[in-house]
């Protein structure tokens, strides 16, 4: 009984400790961010790796989500005689929630793990030390560029994914029914307002930052050995995914309080 209690205390302490270190890591990011020189070339490379290469995957999942959501909604909507409302409902669902969150989760799976593994193996094979020795601030070169790339690229991915999702939804409607693209588009747009788009858009920046900072933190503080690399890749995905949902919850509440709902 006592050992169990001690175990719990130890776990809680280590969790608090980890959170503290991670927060410090995030603050270090903000401190380093403004310091010159800015690793612009590395930043662009990371933007390419993080953003462009994720587009097929995130586009595909977005497309399928739009299509499936519409096809699943259709029977129920028909039953209530409001099939004409499908574009409006699907549009709001995709823009407000599904687009950003699904993109962020896929992003966490693909990019979070790759950053965690990459930085982890760099740490293990002393490449981070080698950079330090070569007159490069590795934190700036590796962490700042990656976190910034994630923060800026996820919103772009999310917007493109939204567009692809809506196209998927349009196809989903046309599998059974028949709606012109113009009507679909008009219905979607008329059901949306800035209050739907802007909070959803802003939260993708936070999602991207979370994925980047968690991946970098886990990689940067990786334990020695290949097992450590695996663990850091794994836990960066898990922690980033959970964080995405927590941030989503917070953003909803904040927008609610601010009245942008």
């Amino acid at each position: 009984m006592k050992t169990g209690q001690q175990n719990t205390i130890a776990k809680t302490t280590s969790l608090l400790y980890e959170t503290g270190i991670a927060t410090g890591f995030a603050f270090r990011f903000f401190r380093q961010w403004f310091r010159r020189p800015f690793e612009f070339k590395e930043f662009l490379t990371q933007c390419y790796n993080v953003g462009y290469t994720s587009l097929p995957l995130i586009g595909l999942t977005g497309f399928i989500m739009g299509l499936v959501l519409t096809m699943q909604l259709r029977p129920t909507m028909l039953e209530y005689g409001v099939a004409s409302q499908i574009p409006a409902i699907v549009g709001i669902a995709i823009i407000r929630e599904i687009g950003p969150v699904i993109s962020a989760l896929i992003f966490a799976g693909k990019i979070g793990s790759s950053i965690g593994a990459e930085l982890g193996s760099m740490k293990v094979t002393e490449q981070i030390d080698a950079m330090d020795v070569s007159g490069t601030n590795p934190f700036k070169f590796l962490v700042v560029s990656r976190v910034l790339a994630c923060t800026l690229m996820l919103p772009v991915l999310s917007v493109i994914s939204d567009a692809i999702s809506l196209f998927g939804a349009f196809l989903g409607i046309n599998i059974r029914g028949n709606t012109s693209f113009q009507l679909f588009w008009t219905e979607v747009v008329s059901s949306l307002s800035f209050n739907d788009i802007l909070p959803a858009f802003i939260k993708t920046f936070i999602f991207g930052f979370a994925v980047g900072i968690v991946g970098c933190y886990k990689g940067y503080t990786c334990n020695k050995g290949t097992a450590g690399v695996g663990r850091s890749a794994n836990s960066s995905v898990v922690v980033a995914s959970v964080l995405i949902f927590i941030i989503d919850l917070l953003v909803v509440q904040v927008t609610d309080i601010l009245g942008y709902n």
Binding site: E118, S121, M122, V124, T125, E126, Q127, D129, A130, M131, D132, V133, S134, G135, T136, N137
Partner: protein, 252 residues
């Protein structure tokens, strides 16, 4: 020559004075002293986990010592800010145990990296010339556009060495340069180390527990024992030493 006095002279490149470093309860370095002269190779010998790597990481500034002084080119490493440290680091080469080649870059980019980082103002042809020169020094000019993963362990070690050499450092710190290599490749690397010493007149601090390396690469051998420099002497003298600790290492 136990705990020899530090002699500071014009030819002294590196002085380690009363260096202490511990991780939690584990004391790794306990008042460690060492002096490296110009054109001198010192091999630091010690058991695994005795703090050899910690020593050179403290020297290069990757780890911060708990107490003590490290002087490189008459500058105190421990009190430098990051910009000054970068300047000092330009003249110190560091060959990592695991080579630390950047996997995501080609050999060329790997070699260019310290060049571009340390001093921004270099034109393309000069950079190209320096890269080619460094690769010629290690005999791997043909690998210039390959990725590190395409190379064998020995080749990677030599590329890493080329990257270390490219800034023409005065001191090179070798972290277990022959570990994980077959004896033939290890011998090649040691020969290369000696060639470099002759060609560029560099000094070196070599961390190793490979007897072959100790015999051939070092002018002097420092034995790290219990966090202290137990003995500093030539290989021949140590072979004949009656000290039980030394005998332990040189038994066979």
């Amino acid at each position: 020559m136990k705990n020899n006095e530090t002699q500071i002279s014009a030819s002294t490149l590196l002085t380690v004075n009363d260096l202490c470093k511990s991780f939690g309860d584990l004391v790794v370095l306990d008042h460690f002293n060492l002096t490296l002269q110009k054109n001198q190779n010192i091999v630091v010998l010690g058991k695994s986990g005795s703090g050899k790597s910690v020593l050179i990481k403290c020297i290069i500034g990757l780890l911060k010592p708990d107490s003590g002084h490290i002087t490189v080119f008459e500058k105190e490493i421990t009190s430098l800010n990051s910009d000054e440290l970068d300047k000092i680091r330009k003249s110190i080469g560091f060959l990592f145990q695991s080579n630390a080649l950047y996997d995501s870059m080609t050999v060329r980019e790997n070699l260019e990296f310290p060049l571009r980082r340390h001093s921004q103002k270099r034109n393309e042809s000069e950079v190209e010339k320096m890269v080619v020169q460094a690769l010629e020094d290690v005999g791997l000019k043909h690998t210039i556009d390959m990725m590190p993963e395409e190379l064998s362990g020995g080749m990677r070690k030599r590329i890493a060495l080329a990257r270390t050499l490219i800034l023409k450092p005065s001191i090179i710190l070798y972290d277990e340069p022959t570990t994980g290599l077959d004896p033939i490749t290890a011998r090649e690397i040691i020969e290369l180390m000696n060639t470099i010493k002759r060609k560029y007149g560099t000094s070196a601090l070599v961390i190793s527990h490979d007897m072959n390396c100790i015999r051939n690469a070092g002018d002097l051998i420092a034995l790290l024992w219990d966090g202290k420099c137990h003995v500093l002497d030539t290989y021949e003298h140590l072979l004949k030493s009656e000290d039980p600790v030394v005998r332990n290492f040189f038994a066979n």
